[in-house]
């Protein structure tokens, strides 16, 4: 574990020292330091908690008597706590941290009104904490990703308005003519989330809608959260990081436009894909399945755009942590969408509905795509806030491989297990418990993958902690994953 001994290299397309654009960026970075680090630190703390809970949940599924008689440790309460901690604690806060930095950079103005963000982070943490306690004490509402009782949800919403107002203000005071692709996605995410959250809360708990529509609204909310909040932030981040790290422009503006609008149009209709064959008018489910098929348009578009941007620069993934994580995430986005189309078709849903396959799908989207892209962005952004480089390249490598293998194994296990489970359930001559027994070995395999992910996250948290306490490397040279051998390698990070 030694610092990479790479001779200092002038960055390609180098600009003279003291260039105003560079100074601007430096000032912007310095101004974003406190709010973004608050969000990141909270996010990493929730990540650790969520990972431990995930292990708990996974193990209890095949060893049910583990600590089962205590009310706040029962599986049915710990599982929603894990999901909500990961969704609102880790993913949302890390996503917001990255989005804040990106907004500041792209609006080319220092971060104004940092107090809004600090207050927002504080209230958000409070909301998640109260929500977690509420669920463990028996106040869960039962709707996926809306389990927080109302007293926590309202705090979350208040916190969010603080962050969103900041984003709008920043946008108002932006400099420059162009609105870059990332800004479309981030702006959209910041505007969609409150509407989504408010609609979900109102229609499920305040109005509430009658009967089976509650389930429809619930899953409309959950899927839209995945696509319109996390997906938008993830895609926007990838659109910044990839061209930024390799120093080339994004391939095509037209592709980016089509990708963005088709994404906005179709992915918001996919909610009912989780309720195929449910007690609904057929058109609702069919519309969602058709929308899922149509999301192949933005997937193909964005994928092509990123691919052509990266053309010839894939070797850089050997060195740059950000690039590696981001490209992994972007590729996972394609896999995630394809899996989504497959399991939504009625003929396949017959077998995979009500099985673990749906969990695989959620984790593909939230972890393999979103979390990996966010990891990549954190590896890029944190040195710019702290003024130190990541200390150990080997730890970053370990983090990457543990995460990649972890999520890959988990996806395989859950998809295969889900198919087995579904095939057994579809055979009425088999006892129902057969389907459960057939999936158990896969669940144990999933627990194994969970161990890998736990290792990855603890490594990351430790590494991040080192940075936070100023123990990073003092160097002008970034931390690469592998030593840069060739002289011509244009790796500036």
């Amino acid at each position: 574990m030694n610092a990479t001994g790479i001779p200092l290299k002038e960055p390609a397309g180098s600009v003279a020292a003291g260039d105003t654009e560079q100074l601007e960026r430096a000032l912007i970075d310095a101004s974003t330091r406190v709010p973004v680090l608050i969000f990141y630190t909270s996010a990493v703390a929730w990540l650790i908690l969520g990972t431990l809970l995930a292990g708990f949940v996974s193990f209890k599924l095949h060893t049910p008597d583990l600590l089962s008689d205590i009310s706040f440790l029962t599986w049915g309460r710990v599982r929603p706590v894990h999901m909500n901690v990961m969704v609102y604690g880790w993913a949302s806060m890390a996503g917001m941290g990255t989005a804040i930095w990106l907004m500041a950079r792209l609006c080319r103005t220092v971060l104004r009104y940092p107090l809004l963000l600090v207050a927002g982070a504080g209230f958000w943490n409070l909301g998640v904490f109260l929500g977690v306690c509420g669920i463990l004490l028996g106040d869960s509402t039962g709707y996926q990703w809306l389990e927080f009782p109302s007293y926590a949800a309202i705090i979350l919403f208040v916190a969010y308005t603080l962050v969103a107002s900041w984003a709008v203000l920043m946008f108002r005071f932006r400099r420059g003519e162009q609105i870059y692709i990332t800004q479309w996605y981030l702006l959209a995410a910041f505007l969609w989330f409150p509407w989504l959250y408010a609609a979900g809360q109102l229609m499920l708990f305040v109005v509430p809608v009658q009967g089976v529509l509650q389930a429809a609204v619930g899953w409309w909310y959950a899927n839209n959260l995945l696509f319109l909040w996390f997906g938008a932030i993830g895609l926007g981040t990838a659109y910044y990081m990839i061209p930024k790290v390799i120093g080339r422009p994004v391939y095509s503006y037209h592709l980016a436009t089509i990708g963005f609008w088709s994404y906005a149009l179709f992915s918001s209709w996919t909610g009912m894909q989780r309720l195929v064959d449910g007690p609904f008018p057929a058109w609702m489910v069919t519309a969602s399945i058709a929308a899922t098929i149509l999301t192949l348009i933005p997937v193909a578009t964005v994928g092509l755009n990123h691919h052509m941007t990266m053309q010839g620069y894939f070797p850089l993934m050997r060195y740059s942590p950000t690039l590696r994580f981001t490209v992994f995430g972007a590729m996972s986005y394609t896999v995630f969408s394809l899996v989504g189309v497959l399991i939504s078709l009625r003929s396949v849903a017959r077998y995979v509905n009500f099985t673990q396959a749906s969990i695989a799908y959620s984790h593909l989207g939230l972890y393999a795509f979103f979390t990996m892209v966010i990891f990549g962005s954190m590896y890029y952004i944190v040195p710019r806030l702290i003024g130190r480089e990541w200390r150990y390249g080997s730890l970053i490598k370990l983090h990457f491989w543990a995460s990649a293998y972890g999520i890959g194994l988990m996806t395989l296990m859950l998809l295969a297990g889900g198919l087995t489970q579904g095939a057994s359930m579809e055979n009425p001559s088999l006892a129902f418990s057969e389907s459960v027994e057939s999936v158990l070995p896969y669940l144990r395999g999933r627990s194994l993958s969970g161990i890998l992910l736990t290792v990855a996250h603890f490594i990351f948290a430790y590494h991040f902690g080192l940075m936070l306490f100023g123990l990073g490397r003092k160097s002008t040279v970034p931390t690469f994953l592998n030593p840069v051998e060739a002289e011509g390698a244009e790796v500036a990070h």
């Binding site: 290299k9 960055p11 390609a12 397309g13 600009v15 260039d19 105003t20 654009e21 560079q22 601007e24 960026r25 430096a26 000032l27 970075d29 310095a30 101004s31 950079r105 792209l106 103005t109 005071f173 400099r175 420059g176 870059y180 659109y239 910044y240 061209p243 930024k244 790290v245 120093g247 080339r248 422009p249 994004v250 391939y251 095509s252 503006y253 037209h254 592709l255 980016a256 007690p279 008018p281 057929a282 058109w283 069919t286 519309a287 399945i289 058709a290 929308a291 098929i293 192949l296 348009i297 193909a300 092509l304 052509m308 009625r346 040195p383 710019r384 003024g387 160097s475 970034p478 500036a492």
Partner: protein
């Protein structure tokens, strides 16, 4: 692609006070080696991508068109299955307005939707489980017995065409089907598969419904056989036989039926 750095904008003084923050130098190193902020190229759209779009739109649209049940709020079945038996017209899903079909054809639809699962489309039932209707003495005899069975169901062992059945239970249909539908399906059964018995009308079933209103569900074979093998009153010409339902209520004098 044009990679030239555009001339940087002169500082406009909008919040960019260079002397403000002391630790600019600390972050400066990372910023200094950075590539420039991302920008977008202008490559044109590939024709292959447009082909992919076309395929996606085609399949998505075709799926939407085919399986939406006309976007009706009541169509739960994406494959255009049986429409709800509610009175109001729900839409042109290939269903002709009921009045245009003959009772036999209407009954055929009712049969297909409700009876076919057990009694099979050829009316032969399943050996040992579901009695046949083709050539069955119950179906082809006078109309009161099959009507009673359809209205209230049948439990327990029953012998049809010399074979014993008893494994399955026939559910009552009086709550699920209207008078017209029961009459139509009986008409269908009594004139299909080589059966040749008199049709049944909705009025007859309505009268029977009133008679059986207080009857608990499910007849058994002895009760059916105890009922007179007569046609339901009000339809086919004939005398005034005692009402079938009354046979099940001992002690009540037979009422003349108009």
């Amino acid at each position: 692609m044009n990679e030239n750095t555009p001339p940087p904008e002169p500082p406009s003084g909008q919040g960019m006070d260079y002397s403000e923050i002391a630790d600019v130098h600390e972050v400066h190193a990372a910023v200094q080696r950075e590539k420039r902020e991302p920008r977008v190229g202008r490559e044109p759209l590939s024709i292959w991508l447009v082909a992919v779009y076309g395929l996606a739109v085609f399949f998505g649209g075709a799926y939407l068109g085919r399986f939406s049940g006309n976007f009706s709020g009541e169509a739960l079945d994406p494959y255009g299955g049986e429409m709800p038996t509610m009175k109001k017209v729900t839409g042109p899903q290939g269903a002709q307005p009921e009045a245009e079909l003959s009772p036999h054809d209407r009954g055929k639809k009712v049969f297909a939707a409700n009876c076919q699962t057990c009694h099979q489309a050829n009316g032969l039932g399943v050996a040992g489980q579901y009695p046949p209707l083709a050539g069955s003495e119950f179906t082809t005899g006078a109309s009161s017995r099959p009507a009673m069975i359809v209205m209230k169901g049948l439990t327990g062992p029953v012998t049809v065409k010399g074979q014993k059945f008893g494994a399955a239970v026939m559910q009552p249909w009086d709550k699920t089907l209207t008078d017209q539908k029961i009459a139509d399906v009986l008409t269908y059964e009594r004139s299909e598969w080589g059966n040749n018995a008199s049709p049944v009308t909705a009025e007859q079933i309505a009268a029977l419904r009133k008679e059986l209103a207080n009857h608990p569900n499910s007849f058994t074979e002895p009760e059916i056989l105890a009922a007179p093998d007569e046609d339901l009153p009000g339809g086919a010409p004939g005398g005034a036989p005692p009402k079938p339902g009354e046979a099940a209520k001992p002690g009540e004098p037979p009422k003349p039926h108009g």
